[in-house]
Amino acid sequence: MTIVIGFEGSANKIGVGIVRDGEVLSNPRRTYITPPGQGFLPSETAKHHRGVILTVLREALEEAELTPADIDCVAYTKGPGMGAPLVTVALVARTVAQLWGKPLLGVNHCIGHIEMGRLITKANNPTVLYVSGGNTQVIAYSERRYRIFGETIDIAVGNCLDRFARVIKISNDPSPGYNIEQMAKKGTQYIELPYTVKGMDVSFSGILSYIEEAAQKMLSSDQCTAEDLCFSLQETLFSMLVEITERAMAHCGSQEVLIVGGVGCNLRLQEMMGVMCKERGARLFATDERFCIDNGAMIAQAGWEMFRSGHVTELTDSWITQRYRTDEVEVTWRG
């Protein structure tokens, strides 16, 4: 039996989760929500996380009905993410690891999503689409690495959606992406937008600039509604994601797709990916918002796999890094 506590706070969510042998015992989380029209800044986000992290930690232990003595390993997000919030979380993880006399383990944020996705969905060897506010990657496991077959060459798809939400002043509660999704359901008119797939890679910055300008022009002259723009943006972005995922599946001979990351919550994206998978005779796996969205349990789960296969992070090596490529980690826990 191995129990791992995981700390995650690389963006505007702060969570602490506890996993024991494939079971999530607790997973409390808080979200730093900014006013409409504003994104979250690193120093303010770190301040929010500092204010709540010990409360969330206490909740995690209480909900799991465990004491520190029961914990075998302390896992935290080493990166990638925003610098100041990452440091906040690492400080607490390092401190409790020393107080409790437990080993420390730095986890890659992306691998946290993948391992939680695999645990919850039981996907065997899927092509992974990892989509969030900070990342957009198509990943497949091969020879002890989670290899990046395709990715965004500029901004993440979630970043594109979030920044468009700012332009039209959508609420950030519970998340701008969720609110775009709800508005898109009421959209009726498709506005043509740039389609910028580049082989296995994608680009979103041009689409964002285009729709920002379109929003100013078309909304002020009543040529379309904000709902139409949300609908059109989703159709375009998600079609691009489906295309690069399908290309990776074809290349690898994969029969499974797993969507992870915050944008993976989007039901329209799941629907579109589901249609493609069905046509290919493949299976689609996705999780709900408990695990799609950044959370502590995903770090605990990846930490559990890593710890049991021999990974440990020395305190002197426990620095955070804003850039930590998914394929940098040696995956010693898979065959």
């Binding site: 992290i53 010990l54 400080l91 390092r94 107080l99 409790w100 305190l315 090596d317």
Partner: protein
């Protein structure tokens, strides 16, 4: 705190310096705080250095910086981090026996 000499007449440019000493309840806790605060680099490249050490129950920090603004940001950030480490030790301590 040393002042900066902005004169140009045969003077080497001097750096701003700041030292901070924080007593912890025990040497063990000073060591834990040091180990928690040490690994991360300064976010900005150049213009600032920070050295941390512990002696007995005393945690020491020493900065050198080119500009007052950079120094203030770094010291402010360190104090936020130190505060969080102290709160964590207060809430989840005392340290397990070694």
């Amino acid at each position: 705190m040393a002042s900066s000499d902005l004169g140009t007449n045969n003077h080497t440019e001097q750096k701003l310096e700041f030292s901070l000493e924080v007593p912890l309840p025990s040497a063990r806790e000073a060591h834990i705080a040091l180990q928690s605060l040490s690994p991360d680099r300064e976010p900005r490249k150049g213009g600032i250095t920070k050295k941390l050490s512990a002696s007995g129950n005393m945690l020491s920090a020493h900065w050198t910086a080119d500009e007052a603004r950079i120094l203030r940001v770094s010291v402010g950030s360190f104090l936020d981090h130190l505060s969080l480490v102290l709160e964590t030790m207060d809430a989840f301590g005392p340290p397990a026996p070694q």
